[in-house]
Structures are given as structure tokens and as C-alpha cells.
């Protein structure tokens, strides 16, 4: 059973177009949705999670029309939103139990076992009686996962779960996610490339509401093999390098700037070939997108100028 998104568009009342003709096909297993802040990830996630309406397009989960038949989707949905609070004065066990009731687990004995298993799996069993208000960010995210997992949903949506977690917590959280298995469709949105590279057999890159790339990470990296170059430059040289078409990214390294470029041949003197990674895939897609936006904008300006 796949999740098939076709031509999904969404414009907010303030005119911001959050999704532009998004089409994706997501099979079972972990799917990474990678994009910068404001790319439309959360809009897409919320739309799949039945919390937001689309202007156009369709989403189908197997034979369920997600946009119409929300009730059916919710019966098999686990959702961990990006912004996620808890009732501060309720214990983890208590609230999880309540959510289990709301998810349709009515048998008390079963529910008790389920809650215990979930808290154990998310490593929260030992703090089960603590008030949620006292949980740290990572604990809270794990609790969110526990909620999402109630009732073994076929569709699990995890929106930016690692944002704001310290490195150790992040690792533990990703470990947890990795255990979720392959029986469900798990969509993980993130702006951290490593999240995807460590976990996801499939991924998509989204920016400005459009899907820039949909691929398996290793295949995408494979496509860049032998085409990634890198060079250490001075800071004042950055401007010139960044304007080149081949430029994909730069980062600071011990006071110098290391720029990376994508090119079949060395893009200039001093460039050394380097092995490609998922970050290059991401930055290449972003750079390509940025350039096409700029040229489109330029074309539009010209068109306006011509008309005048």
C-alpha cells in the first residue's frame, strides 16, 4: 500500500503559496522529506495528517481518499507534529492511556499492556508517573512517538522531530525511529540531512513548495559520483565563487571557506575532486532551484520591461 500524492497545491489566505503541484509516491518504510525551514514540509505533512485542506490535487492512502475520507485515515494514522505540547499536570502513563482510549483501544487490560510496552519501547517506563510538564524536549518527543504508535498505524508522520534536540537526544530519537519497522509508511520531515541519510531508504527534497527531487539517497549520491569538487578559498573570494553555476555550497573551516561545486570537470583551478554525500545532493538541488528561480525572475522582469 502506497501513499500517492498528486498535483497537490495550497495557497494560504495571506497569498503565500505553500505547495505547488506536489506529486509524490511513498511506499512502505521510512521516507525522508528534506527541505529548509519554510519549504512547505509541515504544510504537506499536516495535509497528509488530515489537519489541513488542499486547494487542488489528491492524496490517496491505498484506496482511501485522504482529503475526503479523513475519518478513515485517522483510524490508521500516527502523527507527531512539529509543534507539540502536552498537558503539563498529567503523567505520561495517564495521558498515553487516555490517547489509547481515543484511538479505539477500549479493552482495559489490553490498553494497560500496550501503554506499558510503548513506554518501554520509548524508554519512558521509568518516568511513567512523572508529570509531562517536567519532561525534557527529547523525552517529550519520545512520548509523542509513543502516542503516534498506538494502534500500530499504517501511516506515521513525524514532522521535524529532531529540531531542538541536543546531539545525544537526537541520536536516541533516531534510534527509536529506526526501530519502527517497515510495515508502515513513515514520513519523516527534517531540515537536517543526516537525519535522512542515517534512516531513510527513500527521500524527497522540497523547497518553495515544490518537490525538487525524489529518489533513493544512495542512487542520488551515485549520480554525483566523481562530479563533486572542493576548494579552500579566502573569505573575500566567496562572492565570485558563489556566482558560478557550478557552485553548490560552502562552509567555514578553520577561518577559511571551503566551497563545493558540481561539475563533470574541474570547475576551476585549485578544485580537488571529493566524494559525494547526501548533503551534496541536497545542496545541489537547492542551488539548481535557486538558479532557476533567479532566471525566472529575470525573465519576468524582462517581460515586464518589454511590455513597458
Amino acid at each position: 500500500m502506497d501513499l500517492v500524492i498528486e498535483h497537490l497545491s495550497k495557497t494560504y489566505p495571506n497569498g503565500h503559496q505553500a505547495l505547488k503541484d506536489v506529486s509524490l509516491s511513498i511506499p512502505q518504510g521510512m521516507f525522508g522529506l528534506l527541505g529548509p525551514n519554510g519549504a512547505g514540509k509541515s504544510t504537506l505533512m499536516r495535509t497528509i495528517a488530515t489537519l489541513q485542506e488542499a486547494d487542488e490535487g489528491s492524496i490517496r492512502l491505498g484506496d482511501i481518499d485522504v482529503l475526503r475520507d479523513k475519518e478513515e485515515v485517522r483510524k490508521t494514522l500516527g502523527y507527531l507534529p512539529q509543534e507539540f505540547g502536552v498537558y503539563p499536570k498529567v503523567s505520561a502513563q495517564d495521558l498515553l492511556d487516555h490517547f489509547a482510549v481515543l484511538k479505539g483501544v477500549v479493552n482495559g487490560r489490553e490498553r494497560k499492556e500496550l501503554v506499558k510496552a510503548l513506554l518501554e519501547q520509548t524508554n519512558l517506563w521509568h518516568v511513567r508517573g512523572k508529570k509531562l510538564g517536567s519532561f525534557s524536549g527529547g523525552m517529550r518527543q519520545r512520548f509523542g512517538i509513543a502516542v503516534a504508535l498506538i494502534g500500530s498505524p499504517r501511516l506515521i508522520i513525524v514532522d521535524e522531530p529532531t529540531a531542538g534536540l541536543d546531539p545525544e537526544e537526537r541520536v536516541r530519537f533516531l534510534n527509536l525511529l529506526s526501530e519502527l519497522g517497515e510495515k508502515s509508511i513513515i514520513i519523516l520531515s527534517t531540515h537536517i540531512v543526516d537525519d535522512v541519510s542515517e534512516l531513510c531508504p527513500r527521500m524527497a527534497i522540497i523547497n518553495g513548495g515544490r518537490i525538487l527531487l525524489e529518489a533513493k539517497p544512495e542512487e542520488a549520491i551515485e549520480k554525483l559520483r566523481d562530479r563533486v569538487w572542493q576548494k579552500a578559498i579566502r573569505k573575500d573570494e566567496l562572492q565570485a565563487h558563489a556566482e558560478q553555476d557550478s557552485h553548490i555550497s560552502h562552509k567555514l573551516k578553520l577561518g577559511n571557506v571551503v566551497v563545493r561545486a558540481l561539475s563533470d570537470v574541474a570547475p576551476g583551478p585549485g578544485f580537488e575532486p571529493d566524494s559525494a554525500d547526501l548533503e551534496d545532493v541536497y545542496f545541489a538541488a537547492m542551488a539548481r532551484d535557486r538558479r532557476s528561480q533567479t532566471s525566472q525572475a529575470a525573465a519576468a522582469t524582462e517581460a515586464v520591461g518589454g511590455a513597458a
Binding site: P13, R46, A49, T50, L51, Q52, E53, R68, E71, R74, K75, T76, L77, Y79, L80, P81, E83, F84, G85, V86, Y87, P88, H98, F99, V101, L102, K103, G104, V105, V106, N107, E110, R111, E113, L114, A117, L118, E120, Q121, N123, L124, H126, V127, K130, K131, G133, S134, F135, S136, G138, M139, G144, V147, L149, G151, S152, R172, N175, S178, E179
Partner: protein, 1214 residues
């Protein structure tokens, strides 16, 4: 200082550039304009017109300015202060920007002080919209120019500066402190509620003379202290004076500003910048994280096999989910400290409210259950509304507030589950609150040793009747929150709804179908239970209940689920959510609501007539316009009345079949007969002998004109046979017809046909008359007007009549009417009583029927009976004793009693709170004497005894002698009855109780004259003004008795009665009484007649200083310095000083006399000659006095009775 100023400037910039500041300003400006226009009667179709008591008070009098400014402020002004001042610090916490501020080198005094100063200035600016709005409204063309005085801006500004600005200063401090301490806004709104409660509690105590100072100081708004000052203001004073910043007003303001600053100071002292969250919360997080880390460090996530669970989405699951969610929401509220705070506040103030339950002359009534519910109902309702508004918002926004909404919204539950659970939780909370109130009510009863708790009545009234209404309101508030989808706007609209809905009636929306949740009202009576009120009430509940269902459905369709909060998206989703069953239910509910509404309309507008109060006035106006021309048309007079009254208590119906014998007592032939029958009566027969034909039938007014076949010559007789029926037809907008009720019917002869135009049917209030284009009401006939004296002041178509009647009722009831029982029989399911009078009586009869218990006794040959509800036997013996003592005193001092019987008969409280004297029959309301609670003879005023004596005295004063329809005639009935009762009471209870009684009378008189709408008149020319003919008359007669002696005064009264008893027209007048009194008054005291009866005279007596020295003989010489003045007032209260030279009591006391206990025996009280200005009186005493002064018992009318006594100091030993 520079930083401080820049913090203030920052605050001002912040607020003054925000729209909300100016929205508040606009709201208050509009409110001020609106209230001012409404109270000035400038809104068309509105019947409101209450400013300053109207009459001679200018619309823009300083008094009215004060009332307008303060009442507008009271409308939620405190919540603006709470919002602005709280936000001054809360916004930093909310935006989580406080660390930025706290790390700047700004001290906390500068930070908090600057914020505080800014908030005060902003609040003052926002609220200055009120005086500005009031002032501008005076410039509007719709203000009646004739009623405007000079325009003085200061009159609007002064109350703002004296009341509102100090309120801002101390309330801002408290709110800012609360927000700084708790870092939440909710406590601020609760704080606002607490202060409102303080205000309302203080208002409860106003009017209890003993508690006024407490009330004045307790009121955090300062308004009660102000009311204390202008309580006795006359129209002239209202037009010219402002309440100064002095006395209790000043003390009140200082106390509360002190409280505010103290709280602010505490916060300054303890406010710490450093903390992001509270210590405890941070520690908890740390501990939890540490535990988590310890437990899972190095642990690799384990794959735990999740147990397989069955997931069900059937009806059983839904039920479980509703129950679980409801319980969770309910528990969330009732385990929260705020719920305890609100409930606790209510419970704490309950004793204040209950302390004055139904007390009359300071004497408590038994705390019967309906009395408790009535007395506390307002408080309960207020708290309940607060809880509904507060928690409806909290519940609707719960998930969004804690940011769990997205998780929650994606759960596999239908949208109605959270809605229904939240709604149910709120209803449970309200129900729990009602249970707490019931517990408090029972507690109050038990605390007063009253153990007949009537839990069933509590449950019916509060959990039954009350709850249904609350549930409807819950639905409305939910809908508001769902619709506006903005929490604070939702709160604002809800609050405005509750504040505004009472005003809707004022602008003419008075039909029960027009305002959500309104009904025809209900009243409980021990005699008749909920009586006929239940039916119409239930229909209205059903009607609004159906609308509540529709609202709930709308909530369900528009419920925000997910991210799409815009209205257009929600409308689209609503269409999708509106499944077939939903549409069908909605359609059926609408149809049912329309059907029930139609049925109600049929009842209120077709079976009965609906009129707004304005339309009602219009009918009255038409009566005057069309028929005033016949006012002096000669009409025959009734000389005998025989009537058969058939009461059907269960059906609410009655039939009256009777015959009048009339005579043309005038000197001219009568051609037409003008007959009035109540418009709601059905006339089956109305025939005359000699015959007359119906010429005009004005059914709307029940006015008929018959033309006699041949003119009725002077002295010729006429018979009138009539049969009229009354039947309760459904229910009217104003409630069910209570003319005939199941148990406790009380109708009087006013419902029977009468003759001639009645001036009493006219609109009396001149402002109202003006609205209906009527000229100012003509004054009552002058005291010696010959035309007026042709009628008594009560009746216009009879003098003394022979009376006989048969009253039939249900077999388990007793029926009673004036006269002696001649026959009683039961025929089928009718039980009939035949009563006949053996001598002519004043034509004023009553017919009562109920399941009575009768207590009997006798005095000489007079049988005494008290017909009472079986459980109301507490005070029956007192009534009997009062009748005995009254008969004793009156026969001895005034003349014989004309009947062989005195019967007191109880009636249900919704006919009114009064007793009324008919020939040998005295109907007495169940809620005055019957449930009075007299325990401490020394303390409690026995008003049961007094009211009984007063009504009995009417058997002389009204039923033996009655004044003509001229000024002063109520002096002959009400005032003489009042004096008679006072004397009986004094002989039974002694002077001590009199002092307390007269203190109440003085207060009522001074308050009454302050609210006078026309003109205050001297007692001898009183125009049916109760504060004069009851309250002033008590003081006048007691004073006169004190000066000329009881026997002398009674001699004069006895002479008057002897001359006027049973007289035929022209009827006597007050001048004749005063003449008799004058005749017995010694020459040197004649001035009293002028001071007390013929003018409005006030004394201003004050003890300035009292010093005492011990004499060589071991006695005490008291030197008393007294200021005295005698004043004459005109009808508007303008005073001029006149010479004073008369003996007045001076006295010295060991203590007191306090009003708490009446029996402080004086060391000496004696009359001393007092002149205007400073007097020094020396008294030689046996004991050392503690207090001394002039007129200690307030026998003379003094506007400031409190300063008559002063503490005694030891004279400096020189």
C-alpha cells in the same frame, strides 16, 4: 530617573500605538454615550428614564454626571484595568522576552515602577473616554433641552478624578503585582471578579443603617462611600453639588490605594528577575531528565514487541471516549486551584448576602428555602456566569493552549466527541457549583438554626430550573468561542453579551421570544409551590433548549479541527461534515423550535395580548385621551352589592355574578352610564334596570358606555346585573395570569364592574407622559377642593354600601370575604360560603381561597381569627396579641370597633409584599409577618406586631373615616394608622424599640424625599407619597406626642373621628384633623403644628463638645456645646434657615444609645430651651457620662442624625 522615564515612555508608545487601546477607548466612549442617552430617555421606543429620579433634577446635573461616569465604569472597567495592567508585565513572559529585559541593568523598581506608571497613564487615558463620552452626549440634540441645566465639564471630570482615577491607581497596582507574581493573566481576571464581588457585597449592606460605614469602606470601587453621602440629597442639591473628596469617600480611597500600594510593594520586594520558570518547575525538569538519562544512557533502543490490541470504533467505543474525555476535562477544572478560588470567594461572601435576607426593619425572617434562593440567587447567578464564561473558553481552547491540538485533531474520533465531552464537562462543573451553593444555602439555614431544609425545593429550583437555563447559556458561549475562533475575542464577546443582554429589554426587546434564554419567570410560594409558573416556563425552556441544540450542531459543524481556522474554509468543511443524519436532526430541531415558538407566540400574542412597556404606556395614554372628558360626568352611585363568586382554583378561572343597586345621588338627570370592566374579563351579562343600551364598547380598555332608555332622574334607583368570567388562557409574555391560583387566590373587588372614568388609570410620571405627548399630570385636587371632596380618595362610584356575597371554591379549600359567615355548604364538588355584612361598609372587598388552618381567639366580644398556611404558624400568636392590644388601645382612645370579628388571612407572596385592610378582613402576605423571625425581644423589632396593629387601625382610619379625593387624605388613613400602631407598639415594647423603629423611618423619609419626582409636600397636603404619609408621619406624630402628650393628642384625634365617622360626601380632609389637633395643643406649642404638618421643616442639631468635671459633692457637671439650626425646605429641597427657639431633648448616657440594643438607660434626658446657633447647656449628673448630646432619640427630623451625640471628655483641671 532617566531610565525610569524612558521605561514609562516606552510603555506609552507601546500602548498608544496599539489598536486595542483605542478599541477600548471607543468602547467606553460609545458605552458612555449610550447609557447616558438611554437613561435620559432619549432612545425611541425605550421606556427607560431613570436619571436622578427625574423630576426637577437636570439631565446633566452633577449628580447625574457622577452616576453616569461611575455606572459606565462599573460596566467591566475593572477588566480593562486588569488587561492593561496585567499585560504590562505579562506580555514579556508571554513573548518569552523577559530574559532580555531582566539582563539589562534596569533595576526592578525602574522596571516594575515604570511599567506601573505607564499602565496607570494608559488606563486613565482609556477610561477618560467615559467622562468625555458623557459630556459629549449632553451636547447631542436628542437631549431634552427643557431638562438640561448649565453645561459644566468639571461635573463629569470630578467623579472621574475622585472615583475612577484612584481605582486605576490601586487596581493597576494589584493587577500588575498579580501578573508579575504568577506570570499568568487568569489570576488577574479572577482578581477582577473578587473586587466586583466586594463591590456587590458592599452594595448589599447599603440600606442597613447599622452597616453603612462598613459598606462605605469595604467597597473597593468607592461608590458605596459616595452613595452614603448623596443618599439624602434633594433635587436642588443633586443639581448643584458634587460629592467631595472627604469623609468616608476620602477614607475609602486612602484605604484602597494603601492596599494597592502595599501589595505592589510586596511584589517589588520579592520580585526576582532571574527566573525563567519557577524554581520548582525547573527542578522537576532537571530531576526527570536526569532520571531519564541515567536509565537510558548507553541503552540501545530495544525493539519491544507491541502487544496486539483490538481497535474498535463502534458505538460502545464512542461512549467510552465521551465518558473518558468528559471526566478528564471535568477533573482538569475541578482539581484546579482557580475553581476553588472562584467557589471559595462565593462561599466566603455568602454570609454577607445572607445576613440581610428578607429583613424588614432590621428583623430577620426565617431563612425559608425560597428566601435563601432569592437572596443568594443573584450572587449564585453571577458566579455561575463567571464560571461558564471562563471555562467555556478554557475548554474550547484547551488543546490549542497546551499545543496538543494537532495530535488530538488527528485522532480517530468524530468531531462531536470533544465537543460533547467539553460541553458535558462544563455542565457538570456548573451542576457541581449549584450543589456547592445548595450546601452553602443549607449551611446558612443551619447556622441560623433553621432545619427545614427542603432539599427537594433546592434541587428543583437550582438543579432543575436553574440548570436548564445554564445549559442553554453554555451552548451560546460555546458557539461564540467556536465562531470567533479567537480566545480573547471570544471572552470579550461573551462578557459583553452578559453585560449587554439586560439592556436589550430597555430598548424595547421585551418579548420572551426575542432574547435568547429569556422566559416568563417563576416564583415560589410556600402556599402555592411553583404554581402556574411551571407550564409557561417549561415551554420557554423547551424553545430555547431546541435553539441550544441547533447551536450545538452549529458548533459541531464549525468546530476548528486542524489548521484551517479561516471562516471560509470552516464553512466548506461544515458542508462536508453536515452528513445526512446531521441535516435531518438540524431540520427537525428547527422545525420543532419554530413549532414551539409558534405555540408560545400563540399563547403570548393571540390568547393574551403582548405589549412592550412602551406600548402599554401608549394604551394608558389613549385611555386618558379618549375618556378624560368624562371624568366629571355625573354617574349613579352603588349603594348595595350582592355577588356570587365562583372560584375554580385548579383551572385558574372564576365567575362573578352579581347585582349592584345604585342611586342617582347627583342633582342632574343621568343619560349615559360609563362602566369599566377589566379588559381581560369576559362579559357574559351586563344589564340595567331601567334598561340601557350599549353605545360604545372599547374592548381594549374595557370601557363601555351605555345609554339609558330614559334619563335617570336625581334620587332615582338603578339596578345593574352582571356576570363576568375570568379564565387563565395559556400564558402571557409577562407570565401566567395569577388572578386565580391553585392554592391561595386573592382577588379584590377591583375586578368587578365599576362606574366612571378613573384618574388612577392615568400615567403618573411626567417624563413618561411627555414621551406620549401628554401634558404634565395635573396635581391632585387641592386640600379643600369641593369637587374632589365629593369622592373618597379611593373610590369614585360608591360611598358606604350594603354587602353580601357567596364565595364557592374547591371542596378542600376555605373561602373568605368581608362579612359574617351565614351559611356554609358543600354541593357536589363545590364548597360555598355565604358572607353578609350587618352594616354598610366602604366598597372595597376581597375574596380569598386556600387550604387554610385557622387559629381562633377573642377579645371581649370580638372573635379573632388567623387563617394561615399550615406550616406558617410561627407568628400567629403575635398577630393575635397585636389584634387584642390594638382593639384595646383603639377602642379606648379613638372609638368603638364596628365589627364583631377580625380576620387575618394569608396570601401567596407574588401578589406582593404587603398587608391590606378590608372590612373585618386583613389579607397578609406570606413573606412578611408569617415568616418573620423574632427571637430577641430586646433587639428585634417586632414588625409583625406593628404591621398587624397598623392594618387593624385601618378599620378606624379608612373604614370609619376616609378623606376626600384631595391632597392630604392619606394623612387621615395611612398616617393615623401608623401613629396608632406606633402607640400600641410603644406600650407593648417600650421606648427602646421605638428609637430603632424611628431611625428606620427617618432613613426611609430622607431617602424617599431624595427620589421625589414631582415635589415634596408638607404632610397636611401629601399627595399619596408613601415616604411622607408613612415614614415622615411616624416621626411627626411621635414628636408631637412627645411635646403635647399622648392623651392630649388622642383627644384631638378622637374629636376628629367623632365628627367625621361614616360621613357622606363631602368627605373630610386633613385640614379638619389638623384643626382638631390644633384645638387641643397648648398655645405655646402651636408652632409645632406649622413645623410638623404645614411645612417641610428640618433641624440640624449637633453636639460639638461635651466636657465633664467632678464637683465637690461627688456629682458630675456636664457642659454641652451644641450647634442648632432650623430649616425650611421647598418642594425641591432648597433650604432656608429660620429662627429656632424651642425646647429640645438633651441627654447624657453611660454608653450609647446605640441602635444595636435599645435599652441603654440614660443618666438624664430632658428638654432644654435651644436657640439657633451655639448653645451651651450645663447638666448636673449623678453618674459620670460617656456620651452626651442633643435629641439623642432623633425625634426631630435631622439629615445627619449621627452627629447628635458626642463623646464626653474630662475638662482640663484648671
Amino acid at each position: 530617573m532617566r531610565t525610569f522615564l524612558s521605561v514609562v515612555a516606552f510603555e506609552l508608545r507601546y500602548y498608544l500605538t496599539r489598536i486595542s487601546t483605542w478599541v477600548y477607548f471607543g468602547i467606553y466612549f460609545t458605552l458612555a454615550m449610550f447609557i447616558s442617552a438611554l437613561l435620559a430617555g432619549a432612545i425611541p421606543g425605550s421606556s427607560a428614564s431613570v436619571l436622578g429620579g427625574g423630576g426637577a433634577v437636570h439631565l446633566n446635573a452633577p449628580f447625574n454626571c457622577t452616576i453616569l461616569v461611575i455606572s459606565t465604569f462599573l460596566m467591566s472597567g475593572i477588566f480593562v484595568i486588569a488587561a492593561v495592567s496585567g499585560n504590562a508585565v505579562y506580555r514579556d513572559f508571554e513573548a518569552e522576552i523577559h530574559p532580555l529585559f531582566f539582563t539589562t541593568p534596569v533595576g526592578r523598581l525602574t522596571y516594575l515602577g515604570g511599567r506601573y506608571a505607564g499602565a496607570v497613564i494608559v488606563n486613565v487615558i482609556v477610561l477618560s473616554a467615559i467622562p468625555i463620552g458623557v459630556f459629549i452626549s449632553f451636547l447631542m440634540p436628542y437631549m431634552d433641552e427643557e431638562k438640561m441645566g448649565p453645561l459644566v465639564p468639571w461635573w463629569c471630570a470630578q467623579p472621574f478624578l475622585v472615583i475612577v482615577v484612584p481605582n486605576v491607581i490601586f487596581m493597576s497596582a494589584i493587577f500588575l503585582a498579580l501578573a508579575a507574581k504568577t506570570r499568568q493573566m487568569l489570576p488577574n481576571y479572577l482578581g477582577g471578579i473578587v473586587m466586583l464581588m466586594g463591590y456587590i457585597t458592599a452594595r448589599q449592606l447599603v440600606g442597613e443603617p447599622e452597616k453603612e460605614t462598613l459598606a462605605a469602606l469595604l467597597d473597593p470601587f468607592g461608590f458605596s462611600a459616595m452613595g452614603d453621602v448623596f443618599r439624602y440629597w434633594t433635587p436642588v442639591e443633586k443639581n448643584t453639588m458634587l460629592v467631595g473628596f472627604e469623609g468616608n469617600v476620602l477614607w475609602n480611597r486612602l484605604i484602597w490605594m494603601g492596599v494597592g500600594l502595599a501589595i505592589f510593594g510586596l511584589v517589588l520586594a520579592f520580585f526576582r528577575f532571574a527566573h525563567f520558570t519557577t524554581d520548582r518547575a525547573r527542578k522537576r525538569t532537571y530531576v526527570a531528565a536526569l532520571e531519564d538519562w541515567a536509565a537510558s544512557a548507553g541503552a540501545v533502543a530495544r525493539r519491544v514487541a507491541l502487544p496486539v490490541v483490538v481497535i474498535q470504533f463502534g458505538a460502545g467505543t464512542r461512549l467510552r471516549q465521551v465518558v473518558a474525555s468528559t471526566w478528564r476535562a471535568f477533573a482538569g477544572i475541578v482539581t484546579n486551584v482557580y475553581f476553588y478560588a472562584i467557589t471559595g470567594i462565593a462561599v466566603v461572601v455568602i454570609p454577607f448576602f445572607a445576613s440581610v435576607t428578607g429583613s424588614i426593619y432590621g428583623t430577620a425572617t426565617w431563612p425559608v428555602t425560597y428566601g435563601i434562593i432569592d437572596a443568594l440567587g443573584g450572587l449564585f447567578a453571577l458566579v455561575t456566569v463567571v464560571v461558564i464564561v471562563l471555562y467555556a473558553g478554557e475548554l474550547v481552547w484547551r488543546e490549542r493552549d497546551v499545543r496538543v491540538a494537532q495530535v488530538h485533531d488527528a485522532l480517530p474520533i468524530p468531531t462531536w466527541i470533544p465537543l460533547v465531552s467539553k460541553f458535558a464537562a462544563l455542565v457538570l462543573v456548573v451542576a457541581l457549583l449549584q450543589c456547592v451553593f445548595i450546601g452553602a444555602g443549607v449551611g446558612v439555614q443551619a447556622a441560623r438554626h433553621y432545619y427545614r431544609f427542603e432539599l427537594g425545593q433546592y434541587a428543583t429550583s437550582m438543579l432543575g430550573f436553574g440548570m436548564i437555563k445554564w445549559v442553554e447559556l453554555c451552548a451560546l458561549v460555546f458557539l461564540i468561542h467556536v465562531l470567533v475562533a479567537n480566545k480573547y475575542l471570544g471572552y470579550l464577546i461573551s462578557v459583553l453579551y452578559f453585560l449587554g443582554s439586560p439592556w436589550l429589554a430597555e430598548i424595547g426587546l421585551q418579548h420572551v421570544l426575542e432574547i435568547y434564554g429569556s422566559d416568563t419567570g417563576w416564583s415560589y410560594s410556600d402556599m402555592n409551590r411553583y404554581g402556574p409558573y411551571i407550564g409557561p416556563w417549561a415551554w420557554l425552556r423547551l424553545y430555547w433548549g431546541l435553539w441550544a441544540v441547533i447551536m450545538a450542531l452549529a458548533c459541531n459543524l464549525l468546530w476548528v479541527r486542524g489548521q484551517e481556522a479561516s471562516f471560509s474554509w470552516r464553512m466548506r468543511m461544515a458542508r462536508a461534515r453536515a452528513s445526512r443524519p446531521v441535516r435531518i436532526i438540524a431540520a427537525l430541531t428547527v422545525v420543532a423550535a419554530l413549532g414551539v415558538g409558534g405555540f408560545i407566540f400563540y399563547n403570548t400574542n393571540i390568547l393574551n395580548t403582548f405589549r412592550t412597556s412602551y406600548q402599554g404606556e401608549e394604551i394608558q395614554a389613549r385611555y386618558e385621551r379618549d375618556y378624560k372628558q368624562y371624568e366629571n360626568l355625573p354617574q349613579p352611585r352603588i349603594i348595595a352589592s350582592t355577588v356570587h363568586v365562583d372560584l375554580f382554583p385548579r383551572r385558574g378561572a372564576a365567575m362573578a355574578k352579581g347585582e349592584y343597586r345604585l342611586v342617582n345621588k347627583t342633582a342632574v338627570a343621568i343619560e349615559t352610564l360609563h362602566v369599566q370592566v377589566p379588559a381581560e374579563a369576559e362579559v357574559h351579562e351586563l344589564e340595567f334596570e331601567p334598561p340601557a343600551t350599549l353605545e360604545k364598547d372599547d374592548a381594549e380598555l374595557g370601557y363601555r358606555i351605555y345609554r339609558l332608555a330614559a334619563p335617570l332622574e336625581p334620587g332615582a334607583p338603578l339596578a345593574c346585573r352582571y356576570e363576568i368570567g375570568f379564565e387563565r388562557r395559556g400564558f402571557a409574555n409577562s407570565g401566567p395570569d395569577t388572578l386565580i391560583v391553585e392554592n391561595g387566590t386573592f382577588v379584590n373587588s377591583g375586578v368587578l364592574p365599576s362606574f366612571g372614568y378613573s384618574e388612577q388609570g392615568e400615567i403618573a410620571d411626567n417624563d413618561t407622559r411627555k414621551k406620549h405627548d401628554l401634558p404634565a399630570k395635573e396635581r391632585m385636587h387641592a386640600v379643600d377642593d369641593a369637587v374632589g371632596r365629593q369622592n373618597t380618595y379611593i373610590s369614585r362610584d360608591a360611598d358606604w354600601v350594603d354587602f353580601e356575597c357567596m364565595v364557592c371554591t374547591d371542596p378542600d379549600q376555605l373561602a373568605i370575604a368581608p362579612g359574617y359567615l351565614e351559611d356554609e355548604f358543600t354541593e357536589g364538588d363545590r364548597r360555598c360560603f355565604k358572607y353578609a355584612m350587618d352594616a354598610p361598609i366602604f366598597h372595597f372587598e376581597a375574596f380569598l381561597s386556600a387550604r387554610y388552618e385557622v387559629a381562633r381567639d377573642s377579645w371581649n366580644d370580638v372573635a379573632i381569627e388567623v387563617w394561615h398556611h399550615p406550616t406558617h404558624s410561627w407568628n400567629v400568636q403575635r398577630m393575635i396579641q397585636s389584634v387584642k392590644d390594638g382593639l384595646d388601645y383603639y377602642t379606648k382612645n379613638f372609638g368603638p370597633y364596628q365589627h364583631r370579628q377580625v380576620r387575618i388571612v394569608e396570601f401567596p407572596r407574588y401578589y406582593g409584599l404587603f398587608a391590606q385592610s378590608f372590612p373585618n378582613t386583613i389579607p397578609f402576605s406570606e413573606s412578611i409577618g408569617f415568616i418573620a423571625r423574632l427571637e430577641d425581644e430586646a433587639k428585634d423589632l417586632d414588625y409583625v406586631y406593628y404591621v398587624t396593629a397598623h392594618e387593624l387601625a385601618h378599620q378606624w382610619w379608612a373604614h370609619q373615616v376616609i378623606g376626600g379625593n384631595v391632597q392630604g387624605s392619606t394623612l387621615l388613613s395611612e398616617s393615623l394608622a401608623q401613629y396608632s400602631a406606633l402607640m400600641v407598639m410603644e406600650h407593648e415594647y417600650g421606648q427602646a424599640q421605638m428609637r430603632k423603629f424611628l431611625r428606620y423611618e427617618l432613613n426611609s423619609y430622607l431617602t424617599g424625599r431624595s427620589a421625589e419626582r414631582h415635589e415634596e409636600l408638607p404632610l397636611v397636603r401629601v399627595e399619596n407619597q408613601p415616604y411622607i404619609h408613612y415614614n415622615k408621619a411616624s416621626l411627626v406624630f411621635y414628636s408631637l406626642k412627645d411635646y403635647i402628650g399622648e392623651d392630649t393628642l388622642n383627644q384631638g384625634i378622637r374629636n376628629f373621628l367623632a365628627k367625621t365617622k361614616w360621613q357622606q360626601p363631602p368627605y373630610t380632609n386633613s385640614l379638619e384633623l389638623v384643626q382638631e389637633i390644633r384645638a387641643v395643643t397648648p398655645p405655646e406649642q402651636q408652632y409645632l403644628i406649622e413645623d410638623l404638618f404645614e411645612t417641610i421643616t428640618l433641624w440640624d442639631l449637633r453636639a460639638k463638645k461635651a466636657t465633664v468635671v467632678k464637683t465637690a459633692e461627688g456629682k458630675y457637671e456636664l457642659t454641652l456645646e451644641i450647634e442648632a439650626k432650623k430649616l425650611r425646605a421647598d418642594g425641591n429641597g432648597a433650604e432656608t434657615e429660620i429662627p429656632l427657639d424651642m425646647p429640645i431633648d438633651v441627654g447624657a448616657f453611660l454608653q450609647g444609645p446605640s441602635s444595636e440594643s435599645f435599652d441603654d438607660e440614660p443618666i438624664v434626658v430632658e428638654k432644654q430651651r435651644i436657640v439657633a446657633g451655639r448653645n451651651v447647656v450645663k447638666l448636673l449628673l449623678e453618674k459620670k457620662p460617656d456620651r452626651a448630646g442633643i435629641d439623642p432619640y432623633n425625634k426631630l427630623i435631622d439629615r445627619d442624625p449621627g452627629d447628635n451625640l458626642t463623646g464626653v471628655e474630662d475638662a482640663p483641671s484648671s
